[in-house]
Each structure stands twice: as structure tokens, then as C-alpha cells.
């Protein structure tokens, strides 16, 4: 085999291997996510929920939000 053939074959094999690895890694990640306990820690599911806009209402923090926050200066 000449150098061009070696290069061509290497690129072909690498491309196929990467495509397979990408799909396998993706499904491995999805499987890991699926197995994880749903109620754990701080992961927050947002998609498909009713989105409640939370934002900068500075005055809100003074009356309601500050009560639940433990503020240390």
C-alpha cells in the first residue's frame, strides 16, 4: 500500500470509529442519566414544565426573598 492508501484507510477507519464512539458515548450518558435517582440534589428539571419567570424585581428581595435567604456580610 502506498502512503495515500494508508492515509485514506486511516481516515476511513478513524471516521467510522469516531461515529460509533460518539453514538455509544451518547447512549452511555443517556443511560447514566436515566438510572440516576430523579429526586437527587439540586438538579432541576425545567423542560416541559410550566416556566415561571423569576427575575429582577429588586424590591421583591427586600420583602419576601430576603426572609428565606440567610445573608452574611
Amino acid at each position: 500500500m502506498d502512503i495515500v492508501s494508508v492515509l485514506s484507510t486511516t481516515v476511513l477507519v478513524t471516521t467510522i470509529a469516531t461515529l460509533v464512539m460518539a453514538i455509544a458515548a451518547y447512549f452511555a450518558y443517556k443511560l447514566k442519566e436515566w438510572r440516576k435517582p430523579r429526586s437527587s440534589g439540586g438538579d432541576k428539571i425545567v423542560s416541559n414544565e410550566v416556566i415561571k419567570p423569576i427575575f429582577l424585581k429588586r424590591h421583591m428581595l427586600v420583602d419576601s426573598a430576603l426572609k428565606e435567604h440567610d445573608v452574611d456580610d
Binding site: 485514506s8 481516515v11 461515529l19 432541576k44 428539571i45 419567570p53 429582577l56 456580610d73
Partner: protein
């Protein structure tokens, strides 16, 4: 069908052309890929031209500042007060390093607001310990129940006293000159935000080295080109400085996407604020060192960006603004969806054609032309950014391995976004290498 691994040195082109001509869909695909390649090359050319102009502009500004910028006590007093907001969720391993980097910042008046977003580790305790260490600035630590990064940032910003706010991540270390280099741009009242330069700190394996190259290229070319036109399309989470009035105008961060930084940037741009990039303000970050973590990160980014695009698509119907908005949103769509689809499609098609026709050289030529482009681009970026020259070597595997890997994840994430699959934030584990 004869299956031969062959470079087809004897008139392979005409035999392949004859073979391709027998399939109408294949000829269509070849035409599409040719057009895509031309667009890709043009994209590189335009980005490099604009980024180089921006680079020259930066040199000119820095020279001007060096001449005029002698600091006096009066000039130091005139500098505006800046609030640094640091949201943190389970960043116990590195929160102290990140905060210590803030104490070393070269700026006379600033405060640090740390928001512990309901961490389950010792982030809060470790952050509180830093209050005693600070003799440079006021440090505020806020503990709240977990409600996501957007909410944590908004809480921090609501407590911020400065007219300018620097938002960063809890796993980020800033360069000493960050505040000075960012704040100087706000002399222009049209500037709503300044995006910082993000660099990879944990360059200890192939995956992180290639990401380092990706960051260097993305910032030195795309971000600089966007900055020249004042339409930087993502203010990165690790480092972005904002005019408080601009943030208040767009009501800060929303929590309805998984890319709150992209969403906020779009809101600012669509409101007419200018956003630029400051290459001297550097945030050092840890990047994923394993493939699954990398895919997890890109999965979230892709879905987040698509959510942000979909959320703001209505602005395309706005009278008088539709053209400008279409450029901003169209460019993001091209980068996040069209490019990955075309790249993966090209690879699958060329693999299929190689196996089917037995002529493998076509795939090698596709890789070669893109790799020449990648290596030249990498060399340009490494020189401009004064980066490690070894990064250029990684440009050779960038296209055939890394880009393909990430693009497959982007496509699968896009499909999931399209069909509305539920997702969670997917917090990355830190190694504490900051």
C-alpha cells in the same frame, strides 16, 4: 460490488464520477456538500478578516491607553464601583481558589457577592471562611435554596451595589487585570456588556488539549470578528461584565433555557445594546476531561442555545429590526445546527461512498482540505493569542475526531430538543485543578 481500499491512482476520479452519476440523490448530496464547503471557506475568510481588524483595533487601543493611562489617585477615585457576582453550586473543591483570585484583582473599588445555590457539599462554609481573608473588598455570602444558576445570578445581582456587574462562575479564576480591561469599554454608552476571554486550565490529556485549541480558535476568530461588529453572540458564563441598567432593562437572567448566558446575550442584542469582547480579561476554567462529560456539557449547551433561539424567534417579525435580528439569530442557527448536520452528513456520506465504491481517497481528500484549513487557522490563532504552539498539532485530529464527536452529540441533542425530551442541568464533576 468489489470492495477495495484504494486510492484509485489510475483515473479514480472518472470512475467515481460514473458511479456517482447512477444515483440522483448522491449527485444532489455532492452538490450540497460542495456548496457547504464553499460556505465554510467563506465563513473562515470573513471571520479571519474581521477578527484581524479587531485585533489591530485592540492593539491601537492598548497603545493609546499606555500613553494616556497613567494612574493618579484622582483617576483611581473616578473609576466606578464594580460588583462581582459568583453563583456556586457544589463548588466546594475550588470555590476558595476562585475567590482568592478575586482578592488579587488590580482595581480600587469592588465587592464580591457569592451566592450558594443550595449546595449539598461544603461550598457555603468554605465561601464564608473567605470573608475573614478579605482585606481588599467587601464579601457577601448568600445562601439560598436551589433554584438554578439563573436564579442564583439574579439574587446576587439584586444585592449588588455597583453600577457595573461582573458575573463569573464559581469554578473560574480571573486574571489580575480583568476589571480594568473590561470597565474601560463602558465609556461608550451603547456598550451593554463585555465578554471575557476563556482559557482552559487543565490541559492534561488529549480531550482537554483539543478543547483548549477549540477555545483559542473560537475566541481569536469568531468572538473577535463578532466584537468588531459589536454583536458578540454569547457572553460566556465564566466571565462577562454588564452595565447594570442594561441588565435591569432585560430583567436579568431567565430560567427557561439551559443556556442562560446565551439567552441573556440575545435579549441584550435584540434590545439594541452593543456587546464586545475583551481578550485581555481572562477567565481560567476547568473543562471536561472525559468524553462522556464533554458530551454532557455540549448536550446542555446545544439544547440551551436552541431553546434561546426558539424563544426569541418572534423578534424576526419585529418591524424595522427584523434584518438585524435575522443576522444574529441566523448566525447562531448556522453554528449550532446547520454546521454540525452538514459535517456529520458529509462524513457518513463519504464513508458510505468509500465502502460502496471502494475508492477511499475521497474521504481522505475531504479530511485533508478541512485539516489544512484547521491547521492554518490554528497557527494564526496560536500566534495572535501567544498560545502554546503544540496546540497546532491537535488541529490534525480536530476534524476527524473531536469535531465529529461533538457534532454527533449536537445533532442528537437537537433531535431531543425537537421532540421535547426532558432534561436536567447535568452538573459536571470538578477535579479541583484550578
Amino acid at each position: 460490488m468489489t470492495f477495495v481500499f484504494s486510492s484509485g491512482t489510475d483515473n479514480w476520479y472518472s470512475s467515481l464520477y460514473d458511479y456517482i452519476s447512477t444515483f440522483p440523490i448522491v449527485t444532489t448530496l455532492v452538490d450540497y456538500l460542495t456548496i457547504f464547503m464553499v460556505i465554510l471557506v467563506l465563513r473562515y475568510v470573513f471571520l479571519i478578516i474581521f477578527s484581524y481588524l479587531e485585533h489591530l483595533d485592540n492593539i491601537r487601543k492598548n497603545e493609546l491607553q499606555a500613553i494616556e493611562g497613567k494612574t493618579t489617585p484622582e483617576s483611581e477615585n473616578r473609576l466606578p464601583f464594580i460588583s462581582i457576582v459568583v453563583p456556586a453550586y457544589n463548588e466546594g473543591k475550588i470555590i476558595q481558589t476562585a475567590i482568592r483570585s478575586l482578592f488579587k484583582l488590580d482595581y480600587p473599588h469592588f465587592e464580591v457577592v457569592i451566592v450558594d445555590d443550595g449546595s449539598t457539599d461544603d461550598t457555603y462554609e468554605r465561601a464564608r471562611e473567605m470573608i475573614k481573608e478579605s482585606d481588599r473588598c467587601e464579601v457577601t455570602v448568600i445562601k439560598k435554596s436551589n433554584a438554578g444558576k439563573a436564579n442564583a445570578l439574579n439574587t446576587g445581582m439584586a444585592h449588588a451595589k455597583g453600577s457595573f456587574i461582573l458575573n463569573m462562575d464559581g469554578d473560574t479564576k480571573l486574571s489580575r487585570n480583568t476589571l480594568r480591561d473590561c470597565i474601560r469599554h463602558f465609556d461608550d454608552p451603547k456598550i451593554g456588556a463585555v465578554a471575557g476571554n476563556v482559557k482552559v486550565v487543565n490541559r492534561d490529556n488529549m480531550i482537554t488539549q483539543v478543547q483548549a485549541l477549540e477555545y483559542v480558535e473560537g475566541l481569536a476568530i469568531s468572538r473577535k470578528a463578532q466584537s468588531y461588529n459589536r454583536i458578540v453572540n454569547i457572553i460566556p458564563g465564566p466571565l462577562g461584565m454588564f452595565r447594570k441598567s442594561a441588565l435591569w432593562q432585560v430583567r436579568g437572567y431567565d430560567d427557561d433555557t439551559f443556556a442562560e448566558d446565551c439567552d441573556l446575550t440575545l435579549k441584550l442584542l435584540l434590545e439594541g445594546w452593543h456587546i464586545i469582547y475583551e481578550p485581555m480579561a481572562i477567565a481560567w476554567v476547568e473543562t471536561p476531561s472525559h468524553i462522556t462529560n464533554l458530551l454532557k456539557q455540549r448536550y446542555r449547551w446545544t439544547r440551551g442555545i436552541l431553546q434561546a433561539i426558539r424563544k426569541h424567534a418572534w423578534t424576526l417579525k419585529q418591524p424595522h429590526k427584523a434584518g438585524a435580528n435575522a443576522i444574529i439569530i441566523g448566525y447562531m442557527l448556522f453554528e449550532s445546527l446547520i454546521c454540525p448536520i452538514s459535517n456529520v452528513l458529509a462524513s457518513i456520506f463519504l464513508v458510505w461512498l468509500s465502502i460502496k465504491s471502494g475508492v477511499t481517497i475521497l474521504l481522505a481528500l475531504w479530511w485533508l482540505q478541512l485539516s489544512i484549513l484547521d491547521v492554518m487557522t490554528a497557527a494564526y490563532c496560536v500566534i495572535i493569542e501567544k498560545e502554546d504552539t503544540m496546540l497546532i498539532v491537535y488541529a490534525l485530529i480536530f476534524r476527524v475526531f473531536y469535531q465529529l464527536l461533538v457534532d454527533v452529540a449536537k445533532i442528537l441533542a437537537s433531535i431531543e430538543e425537537l421532540i421535547g425530551t426532558k432534561m436536567n442541568w447535568g452538573k459536571l464533576e470538578r477535579e479541583g485543578k484550578l
